[in-house]
Structures are given as structure tokens and as C-alpha cells.
């Protein structure tokens, strides 16, 4: 209880009290858990709120920044990473957090996602993966598992999903991790590592939408779906000892990559030095 009270005091220091609460998310939604974990990670790193920006795109996750007392920007659908790239270029000293849903980050914003990773620009991309378009009522998203029923796949989804973390590794991100909204301490740890990272860092957070996907597929109550995140997930270390068949349908949690690569805005400082040296 004492720990809980201390944590809510931490959250209170970062929430925007001028903003009318409660938030817009459904009861039981995991996005609030992600927001709280981000706050604790930022608090743990003792960052100055003035030096933190949080940008988002459109969708349920897109509504996150307005609640938190940073420099916040709710941009257009899919484009948050591109907005953040401009901000980071002119304010390289800022910690720029970009929160996105899976549709936002990987369908309409998929191009920006892979290019931000390729550039290794120092942004923290937090992808809340609910495997659907929650705000518009549960349509298929680029991470909807094959066979699942959605509002636009009433006979079952026939496409294969993007593995977000693996995609980010291949595209060149410096740090990539995956966790779930059930594994809150682990999530907080990964967020802290990601925010500390100089280069492009991705944290994928599994948080299935119970209001839309859960109901359409009869996955049970929010609490039951939360237990499913516990039961259907395993650590990267454990996954390594299993066959492909045994891993089928499981969420693999862990740090997929943590590597030192030159960060884009720091490389651009060298460009400025070269340009000014050549001019003289």
C-alpha cells in the first residue's frame, strides 16, 4: 500500500492537472498502464520535464500526450515520427518520446517507422500494440494475428501480422524491446533503457483491445485478457530453447537488440563542422 501511494504521488507530479480527467480510454484499457510506466521511467531517470517532449499520432494511444506535463504534440495520423524528427533536429538535447498505436506506427506510418530506424535518430518510439484500430471500432491492423475476427475481417483475418520488434531490429534501430501491460516492472525497465539510449529506440507493448477485438473474438473480460498476456508470453531466453511450433502464437518478451550505432543528430553536428571548415 505504501508503494502504491508513493507511485500515485509520482504520477501526480507528471499529470496535467488543468486537463479534465478521467481520460478517454475504456475501463480496463492498457494504455493508462503504459502512460504510468513511462512516467515512472522518466521520474527514475530524473529528467527535467522541460527537456522532455511527447508526440503522438492519431488513435487511442494518440490521446496520451495531452494528459502529461511535458512539451506535448498530438500530430496527424502516422506522422508522429516525422514531426519528431524535425523537433529532434533543432532540439537535439531534448528527450523526444513518440507514442503510437500499431495502425499509426506500422500501417499509415510504416514508412516513417523504418526510415527513422534506418537513420538511427535519437527518438524513443513506444508502440502500444493492441492488434486493431480501437478508436474506430476494431478493424484489422498490420499487427492483427491471422485468423482473428475484426470489424473488417468478419470471416477471419487472412493477412499475416508485422512482428514489430523484429522489423525494428532489421530496419536498424539501436535498441528494441518488447513487453506487455501485464509485465509492468519489466516494461518500466525497458522504457528506462530505451529513453536512456542515444539512438532510435523502440519499445513494443502488447495490450490487446478488449472492447473491440476481445468482444469480437470472445476473449473474455479485461482481467481474463490480462491473464492471457501472462500465460501466452515468454521471455526471449526461454524462447531460444523452444522449437518454432512451440513458440507459435506466443508473445516473446525481452530486449531484442541493444547496440551502439552513431546517432543521426550527432552525425549532423559533424556535417555542420565540415561545412563551416570548408567555407573558411
Amino acid at each position: 500500500m505504501r508503494a502504491q501511494r508513493t507511485e500515485s504521488r509520482v504520477h501526480g507530479r507528471y499529470l496535467r492537472h488543468s486537463k479534465e480527467f478521467p481520460n478517454i480510454w475504456c475501463a480496463g484499457c492498457g494504455i493508462g498502464i503504459v502512460l504510468a510506466a513511462i512516467i515512472r521511467a522518466v521520474d527514475g531517470l530524473q529528467l527535467d520535464k522541460n527537456e522532455v517532449a511527447m508526440l503522438s499520432g492519431i488513435g487511442c494511444t494518440g490521446r496520451m500526450p495531452v494528459y502529461v506535463d511535458f512539451n506535448t504534440m498530438h500530430t496527424t495520423h502516422g506522422r508522429a515520427l516525422a514531426f519528431a524528427t524535425g523537433l529532434k533536429m533543432v532540439r537535439p538535447e531534448m528527450k523526444v518520446l513518440v507514442v503510437m498505436g500499431d495502425g499509426d506506427a506500422l500501417a499509415i506510418g510504416g514508412n516513417h517507422f523504418i526510415h527513422a530506424a534506418r537513420r538511427n535518430i535519437g527518438l524513443t518510439a513506444i508502440v502500444v500494440n493492441n492488434a486493431t484500430y480501437g478508436m474506430t471500432g476494431g478493424q484489422s491492423s498490420p499487427t492483427t494475428p491471422t485468423g482473428v475476427r475484426t470489424a473488417t475481417a468478419p470471416y477471419g483475418h487472412i493477412e499475416q501480422p508485422f512482428p514489430v520488434a523484429e522489423l525494428a531490429v532489421t530496419a536498424g534501430a539501436a535498441f528494441v524491446a518488447r513487453s506487455t501491460v501485464f509485465h509492468v516492472r519489466e516494461l518500466e525497465q525497458y522504457l528506462s533503457q530505451a529513453i536512456s539510449k542515444e539512438g532510435f529506440a523502440v519499445v513494443e507493448v502488447m495490450s490487446y483491445c478488449h472492447t473491440t477485438l476481445g468482444r469480437l473474438n470472445r476473449w473474455g473480460t479485461p482481467a481474463e485478457m490480462m491473464r492471457r498476456l501472462r500465460d501466452d508470453s515468454l521471455t526471449l531466453k526461454r524462447a531460444e530453447s523452444l522449437s518454432e511450433a512451440e513458440k507459435q502464437g506466443k508473445i516473446v518478451r525481452g530486449v531484442f537488440v541493444d547496440r551502439d550505432l552513431p546517432e543521426y543528430t550527432q552525425l549532423y553536428e559533424r556535417v555542420i563542422e565540415r561545412a563551416q571548415a570548408e567555407r573558411v
Binding site: 495531452v66 512539451n71 498530438h74 496527424t76 506522422r79 524528427t85 524535425g86 533536429m89 532540439r91
Partner: protein
């Protein structure tokens, strides 16, 4: 400063630097690529930043992100890229983020005929993004004017917290002319208004006396929210109808109440004219040539060159055409800005000269249209 042979796109890049531009994001497209290439070289020399983005949507987004970070920011493109930028241009209008978008027009629609000149994006510059919003668009007709209007575009964007579109065309962009460069100290730069209130009182969308509330960059201790949703004075989303209406009224008022500052034009011989020619961009060069030829033949021809095309120079046109029966409007499109002239002047007095095959409107065609009215 000495005279130089300079290309229009180069003048745009130099004008951007002179106007204080310190960030450019773009994507290659003819006939605007030179602007990006020059700024890729020049911006880091002055401590600015250049980035080639993955597409024009991202370019426009990065420009807005850089502007909220405090840099004067610009992108440059042509028709196909301008289409892709429209959603984020609307975001800049909604969130009132200063930025400059250069569209070096080429013949469309679609890929069209790369890269022949056109003035086909006039209406897109006004209404390309969805929803009611104010916009400023300037259109240069020479290399030197490109330099001056690029500076002006930055000044307007900062003064009015609005996206400003510089509507060039392939002729002006690729043409080379001898240009007397202005001395640096003669160039007037407008800086973003600063706030005098402490962070806890700051409202980025305050309905203030000037209608243009100061915009404090991110990272300077004023933490606030920016959104493309309709918002209140603090920037937070709102469903209150009176606040939504107040925003709409204010952003239109901030432009409408400053038309005398924003509307730029040149006029010649209007007082005793029988026929008035109204033109802008590269077509103004053909038009001016035709006016001189007609005058040599004894015609009393007035000439009005519009440098600001949005907002439309209603009062200027109305006044210039008041006692005239004939107004000739040549354009490298099927008639876009002429719709505004017809609205203000009366349709039966307005005569169109159009061309949409990728060639300039020739002076001879405009001259013929003028002489048809005199004889």
C-alpha cells in the same frame, strides 16, 4: 552587393537564408530540387539543419516539428509533392505553426508533363487541405522577386503564425536573370513574438488583442499541448462550441484585419486605362510585354501584377476595375484566379486567356485579347 546571374530556385534558397530559415526538410522533385540541393550545402554553413525525408508527407511533418522547436522552417516541392503535403499543411493552419511551403508549379494533373510550367496549383494553394482555414500565398514573377518574396513568406508566417505558400512556377524557378542582391542590412526580418507572461499563465492560443498569440518553442520552460483537434486557449482538445467558433473567428480575423500588410501588388497606368490586365507569376512577364506593345499602338492599358494571390486582393481589383469595361486575365491554367476576378468585377467584363499545354502564355495571345476589346 554585386550583381549575379542567378536562377529562380537559387534565389529562393538564398531568400530563405536571408529570411532566417534554419531548417529544411524535403524530397527530390523537378523543378524544385535545386532549392533542396543548395540548402543541403548552405544551411550547415550557417549552423542550420537540412534533412532529406522519405517522402513529402514526412517533409512537411518535419518542418512543423522543427518550427515548434523554434527554427524558421521550410520545404520545397512541386505539384505531386504539394498534394501529399496537404494534410500536414492543414495541421500547421490548425495549430498555427509558422512555416513556408514552396511549390514550383509544373504541368499537371498527376505526373503531367515533367517538367513544363503551369499555374495549375492556384486553387490547391487556397483549398488543398480540408476544412475552412486561412492561408497566405505569394507568387513571384522574376528571380529577384523570388528572393524578396521568400523573405516575405517567412516574415508573414512568423508574424501571423500561419503556413505561407510560395507559389513559384517552372519558368521562374529555372530561369536565370541578372540580379542585384540586396545588402544584408537592408533585409527586414520578422521574428516570432515572445511572451512576457510566466509559464503558468501562458496560453498558446489566447484570444488576445492582436489575434496572434506568441508561440514559445518547445524546450524553453513553457510546457503546453499542441493538437490538430479543435482546442481551447491552452491547446487542449475541446468540444465547447463557443471555443471552436472563437478559434475559427480569430484565425480568419488575424489575416482579414491585416490585408493592407499582406496584399502585395504592383500597378501601372490604371488611372486613365480603358483595359486592365491582371496577371501573376511568369505570366505577368508575358502580360507586361503585351501591355507595352498595346500602348505603343496607342492603347490605354492598365496593368496590375498580383504578388499576393491568397488572400485575394479583392479591394485592389475592385478599385482598379471600377470604371472599366474590360479586364483581361491571362493564366497558365484553365482559369483559376480569374474566378476571383469575376466574383469581384462581374463576369461579362472579364476576358480569359488560358494555356494548359505546358507552354507559357505568349504576349501575342494577350495582345490579341487586349486589342479585341479596344477595336
Amino acid at each position: 552587393m554585386p550583381a549575379r546571374l542567378m536562377q529562380g530556385d537559387e534565389a529562393c534558397a538564398e531568400g530563405a537564408l536571408a529570411g532566417g530559415c534554419r531548417f529544411f526538410a524535403g524530397y527530390p522533385i523537378t523543378p524544385a530540387t535545386e532549392i533542396a540541393e543548395i540548402l543541403a550545402r548552405r544551411l550547415p554553413q550557417v549552423g542550420g539543419k537540412f534533412i532529406q525525408m522519405e517522402d513529402e508527407i514526412a517533409s512537411m511533418a518535419a518542418v512543423i516539428g522543427a518550427s515548434i522547436g523554434g527554427a524558421k522552417a521550410m520545404t520545397a516541392t512541386s505539384g505531386p509533392g504539394f498534394s501529399l503535403m496537404q494534410e500536414n499543411i492543414g495541421y500547421a493552419a490548425m495549430a498555427e505553426i509558422p512555416c513556408v511551403i514552396v511549390d514550383v508549379q509544373r504541368l499537371g494533373p498527376s505526373t503531367g508533363r515533367p517538367t513544363s510550367p503551369s499555374q495549375g496549383d492556384v486553387m490547391q494553394a487556397r483549398w488543398g487541405t480540408h476544412g475552412d482555414h486561412p492561408i497566405i500565398a505569394l507568387s513571384p514573377s522574376s528571380v529577384r522577386e523570388t528572393l524578396d518574396l521568400t523573405v516575405q513568406a517567412f516574415n508573414f508566417s512568423e508574424r501571423y503564425r500561419t503556413p505561407v505558400i510560395l507559389l513559384m512556377d517552372e519558368v521562374v524557378g529555372h530561369m536565370r536573370e541578372r540580379v542585384e542582391l540586396p545588402r544584408a542590412e537592408t533585409i527586414k526580418r520578422v521574428e516570432r513574438p515572445v511572451t512576457t507572461v510566466p509559464p503558468e499563465w501562458y496560453k498558446p492560443y489566447e484570444d488576445s488583442v492582436s489575434d496572434v498569440p506568441p508561440l514559445v518553442p518547445f524546450g524553453e520552460g513553457y510546457r503546453y499541448h499542441v493538437t490538430g483537434l479543435h482546442h481551447d486557449e491552452r491547446g487542449c482538445p475541446t468540444d465547447h462550441l463557443e471555443k471552436i467558433q472563437a478559434w475559427s473567428d480569430r484565425v480568419f480575423r488575424k489575416i482579414d484585419s491585416s490585408l493592407s500588410d499582406i496584399i502585395l501588388y504592383e500597378e501601372d497606368g490604371i488611372a486613365d486605362a480603358n483595359v486592365l490586365v491582371i496577371a501573376y507569376g511568369a505570366t505577368a512577364r508575358s502580360a507586361w510585354h503585351a501591355v507595352k506593345l498595346a500602348r505603343e499602338r496607342g492603347g490605354k492599358i492598365g496593368f496590375l501584377k498580383l504578388k499576393t494571390i491568397w488572400p485575394f486582393a479583392e479591394e485592389v481589383v475592385e478599385h482598379a476595375a471600377a470604371r472599366l469595361h474590360h479586364v483581361v486575365v491571362p493564366e497558365m491554367n484553365r482559369g483559376q484566379l480569374v474566378l476571383e476576378v469575376e466574383r469581384v468585377v462581374a463576369r461579362n467584363k472579364v476576358h480569359r486567356v488560358n494555356r494548359t499545354d505546358g507552354e507559357m502564355v505568349h504576349p501575342g495571345d494577350i495582345l490579341a485579347a487586349i486589342e479585341e476589346r479596344i477595336l
